[in-house]
């Protein structure tokens, strides 16, 4: 039986969606075990940007039902070398999110609680498959 201190600790660590430390560890254990048993690994895909490539974000105006190749370029955003390095070094799929800053005031929070939410509002989100998850199945020598 749990003592009151342990119960309080678990409750204090519960996330807003009610997961407690025990369940979180259980979930982590499951993901770790499944990853290990499947031999999960990352493989950078051939479509990843090559090192040193100039990365830009381009916005096109498309005509509904029209030829996508004839879309009109509206504007281009050049990414800084530092940002390009961060993108190149990241693993896994990337999410490109277009956000707008909300003009609403932060919602009121209980005393002593810092705001953890951003006033940003996501307008659109696109996932870029930069890397591919793979399963490796093979016999491995124990001294490897």
């Amino acid at each position: 039986m749990k003592d009151s201190t342990e119960e309080q600790l678990e409750n204090s660590l519960a996330t807003p969606s009610t997961i407690n430390r025990r369940d979180m560890t259980k979930l982590l254990g499951l993901v770790t075990a499944l990853s290990a048993s499947l031999g999960v690994t990352f493989t950078v895909s051939a479509s990843s940007p090559a090192a040193g490539a100039q990365l830009k974000l381009k916005f096109f105006q498309q005509i509904p039902g029209g030829d996508p190749a004839k879309a009109r370029l509206l504007c281009t955003i050049d990414l800084s070398p530092e940002d390009q390095q961060k993108l190149a070094a990241s693993e896994g799929p990337l999410e490109l999110r277009m956000v707008a800053l909300s003009t609403f005031k932060d919602r009121e929070l209980p005393a002593g609680r810092a705001a953890t939410t951003s006033p940003e509002v996501t307008i659109s989100s696109t996932t870029i498959a930069k890397a591919n998850w793979s399963m490796i199945k093979q016999q491995i020598n124990r001294r490897d």
Binding site: W133, M135, Q138
Partner: protein
């Protein structure tokens, strides 16, 4: 010269020329690390007439995820004087040997030719002996790995749904811990993990509890049991 310990090069496709004839020298059944999925644990347990809990306890390490090898002679714990005692239900890695397989979650596959044990008597096809039909595909077709790939793909799909959930939970929990001035110690995590991983890979228990909760009979078909195992995990995750 390629050493047995060099990392394999995944540069073969299904259409690559390949052949291998096993001579049952059993060298490849020693000193290996073979990972097991819940599907493989289930098949091996059924072959031996055991529950998954019994199989995990007796024949695996690392809570059901790795096949146990004997400490004295380095042999697989499922090997007996006649060879593999579970040959018809052997793990996918053993079926594919001496190939390794890399299977993309989003499709695509590559294979590697693993370097054999220096004393192996298995015979590899050479340029002089390979026939037109000797390919990776023809070798694999004789190994019946398709059911393993199907099950693995299903667990891979489950994993892709779990990873964002984990990321969200960690972020939220860290925020709460920071607010509470507490931190998870490594010891606490280790204690929970060893126990909980074993629980998840015990397919019989997970499916049994799930069927009891749903008041449905436990299916005898292995694929149906895997369906329910995945469903049980998904329903548990929906609580978060």
């Amino acid at each position: 010269m390629i050493s047995e310990t060099d990392p394999p090069l995944f540069n073969l496709s299904r259409y690559s020329a390949f052949s291998y004839e096993c001579k049952r020298c059993l060298k490849c059944c020693h000193d290996k690390r073979i990972s097991l999925t819940p599907y493989e644990v289930l098949r091996l347990a059924r072959n031996l007439g055991l529950t998954t809990k019994q199989f995990i306890a007796e024949f695996t390490v690392e809570a059901g995820t790795i096949l146990r090898f004997r400490s004295d002679d380095g042999a697989c714990s499922l090997l007996n004087e006649h060879g593999c005692s579970v040959h018809s239900d052997r793990p996918a890695a053993c079926r594919m040997y001496p190939l390794g397989g890399s299977f993309g979650f989003a499709g695509g596959e590559k294979f590697a030719r693993l370097t054999p044990h220096p004393e192996s008597t298995g015979i590899y096809g050479t340029a002089a002996t390979l026939q037109r039909d000797d390919t990776v595909a023809s070798f694999l077709s004789g190994q019946d790995i398709a059911p393993y790939q199907r099950a693995n793909q299903r667990y891979a799909e489950l994993l892709t749904r779990l990873i964002p959930l984990v990321a969200g939970c960690i972020t939220a929990a860290l925020e709460c811990e920071t607010a509470a001035g507490e931190a998870t110690t490594e010891d606490e995590t280790a204690t929970y993990s060893a126990f909980e991983i074993a629980e998840w890979f015990d397919v019989d228990t997970v499916v049994g509890q799930f069927c009891a909760k749903k008041q449905i009979p436990i299916p005898s078909d292995l694929d149906a049991q895997i369906d329910l195992h995945i469903q049980a995990i998904e329903e548990w995750c929906e609580e978060f």
